[in-house]
Amino acid sequence: MRKSTLLKSLAAAAVAIGTSFSALAADPIKIGSVLSVTGPAAFLGDPELKTLQLYVESINKAGGVLGRQLQLVHYDDGSDAGKANGFAKRLIDDDKVDIIVGGTTTGSTMSMAPLVEKAEIPFISLAGAVVIVEPVKKWIFKTPHTDRMAAEKVFEDMKKRGLTKVALLSETSGFGASGKKETEGMAGKMGITLVANETYGPKDTDMTPQLTKIKNAAGVQAVFVFGLGQGPAVVNKNYKQLGITLPLYHAHGVASEEFIKLSGPAGEGVRLPAAALLVAEKLAANDPQKPVATGYRKAYNDRYKEDVSTFGGHAYDGLMIAVDAFKRAGGTEKAKVRDAIEATKGYIGTGGRVNMSPTDHMGLDLSAFRMLEIKNGDWALIN
């Protein structure tokens, strides 16, 4: 008897507390996300998800946004763009999220694009290609640098060194193919002549034939490699084996500690453009990106005991831009939030300084990239 009355009163109390809580707390702000947490693009999607979870948590602990908690609703598309499209529908129609931050790959992003445009919901993509924001789509923004910027940054550095006759070696993957196209376009604009234009497969383990051709190309002054993963490290080794001494550049896709390790001594002297995040500790004390980059790096390291990647950084930037926009819009009304994102000015993130505009839904300029060189087995900043 006594026991059951006790239970009853406990239950009643629990219900009372529950209802009063939900009455007190405003509805959460729903942040939707579709990421490639598994599948071939998992190396991108995994740190992105971890970053979003980490910061949604810490923002909520600090009181949320506009007095409301953030709620992250995320799905894994398994690196399948067709699934991303379905999950986007779920976020929009079923979960009724206020904004979408995600889309790990360009394919996923582009398959979600028509849906978000139709549903008129702000969408900040974490994928690389220029097509996402060119032509500008009203509701779609992105945080990562483009391959075009990487090519421009590399050519800028080459010109400073008086190198204008360049050999391009690109991977036949999506990243490399898009990079090749943008590099060819950028070469014309910047007065660079491509004296050789070779490709290799993503799984190739010997690039000696291509490098031999490049070595023998008439007048070649420098080599630019556009690839991801293992390939570029193999290039470094073959390069040294063939005794090529021309300046060697890589694209931003290999900007990680792993690349230095894979290349070993053959990596010495190699240059590439990268976000400041990679060299957070080496940035000048007065560098505006220093606090952001070191802060994110530390938080991520502490929580997950693994190195940060620029990809997680893109998610960080996406979330922060969204949060900032909610604050300035004073709520979650979608049109206002969209306008606020488009009006983002001077946001300093892990990727650089972001100045959005109606004609630029990425808002990064070349200053976002730092030129790095591998020196004594570590990154060194080139000015």
Binding site: V37, T38, Y75, D76, S79, D80, A81, G82, K83, N85, G86, F87, K89, R90, I92, D93, D94, T105, T106, G107, M110, S111, A113, P114, L115, A129, V131, T172, S173, G174, A177, S178
Partner: protein, 314 residues
């Protein structure tokens, strides 16, 4: 009376499709229903090949990819009418199927599995590499499907289109199974030598059903592309092929209803499991293993047997 009993399954399916919208709360659920229907139609065709004719294809997503990319590329780059592009895609898929199948089926043994595996992979690679036309791994947008001034738009319209297509496919599959052609097909699965001496040109029948299943896969690839409005090489990849075969096997080989159930379950399952936070693949795999251990013949045939009556599809 006989008419009604003959058409009873068709009427039931029509009823379900008609009433379903009453319980679909929003577009997301429509979307799932549409994807279920698309998969069901592909699986109906694939089950004719695998379950009824006893031939395995591990590269059917390749044909889905051909249809999808025909519908993406031909209207975008060459200004073709989407319906013409869809037809061309299905024709190309059929021709490729014929070219591959003819020499393979002359050999004894399960060479088709290897050949289709290779074929699927090759198609996926070509799609990935021909970036000028296909957009490479990033994929490309697909124009809307307009028919004489009317454009199919939004989940609700697509739902009715797919409901119609599914009803037709279901009806046609049932007809086929219960026809001289279908009997020959099942007979060659039962005994090749017996069907041969009864006059069944087994190579011709295997090739024909392979082409038919490729044709439907390609058509549904086109429909998928138009419906989603975007297509990436994933649609043609090996995993998608395996997914389709799994639907056949889980639903039940040589079972028309099994095809529907397999497609419905395996389309819904990943959505239902998405809350498992990174464990969905494990749970998904466990469910499949469980099914295969306790119901090796697939859901529908096993359950049909357990709850009286001898299956269907006779």
């Amino acid at each position: 009376m006989k008419m009604i009993s003959r058409h009873k399954p068709l009427l039931i399916l029509a009823g379900v499709l008609l009433l379903l919208p009453l319980v679909l709360p929003n577009n997301f659920y429509y979307d799932i229903a549409i994807r279920m229907a698309i998969n069901a139609i592909i699986v109906l065709g694939l089950n004719l090949l695998i379950g009824f004719a006893g031939q395995i294809s591990l590269g059917h997503a390749g044909f889905v990819g051909i249809g999808a990319y025909a519908s993406a590329i031909l209207p975008t780059h060459f200004g073709w009418h989407p319906l013409l592009a869809m037809t061309a895609g299905a024709a190309v898929a059929s021709v490729i199927a014929a070219i591959v199948a003819r020499p393979i089926f002359r050999l004894k043994g399960h060479y088709l599995a290897m050949a289709t595996l290779g074929l699927g992979i090759i198609i996926a690679i070509v799609i990935k590499n021909e970036a000028t036309y296909t957009g490479g791994p990033d994929g490309m947008a697909v124009p809307a499907l307009g028919i004489g001034g009317f454009t199919i738009n939004g989940e609700k319209q697509w739902y009715w289109v797919l409901a119609g297509l599914l009803l037709f496919s279901f009806w046609a599959s049932k007809n086929l199974i219960d026809s001289p052609f279908g009997r020959a097909l099942r007979a060659l699965h039962g005994s090749e030598v017996a069907s041969q001496v009864m006059g069944v040109d087994i190579v011709r029948y295997k090739v024909a059903i392979f082409i038919l299943s490729a044709f439907f896969a390609s058509l549904m690839g086109s429909v998928t592309a138009h419906y989603i409005g975007f297509v990436t090489p994933n649609i043609a990849d090996f995993f998608h092929s395996i997914e389709l075969v799994t639907m056949v096997v889980v639903g039940g080989m040589a079972s028309i209803y099994g095809s529907l159930i397999g497609a419905v379950l395996l389309t819904a399952l990943p959505q239902a499991l998405s809350t498992f936070e990174g464990w969905e693949t494990v749970v998904f795999g466990s469910i499949l293993i469980f099914c295969m251990i306790f119901m090796p013949r697939g859901l529908v045939p096993t359950l049909a047997e357990r709850f009286g009556g001898r299956g269907e599809d006779k």
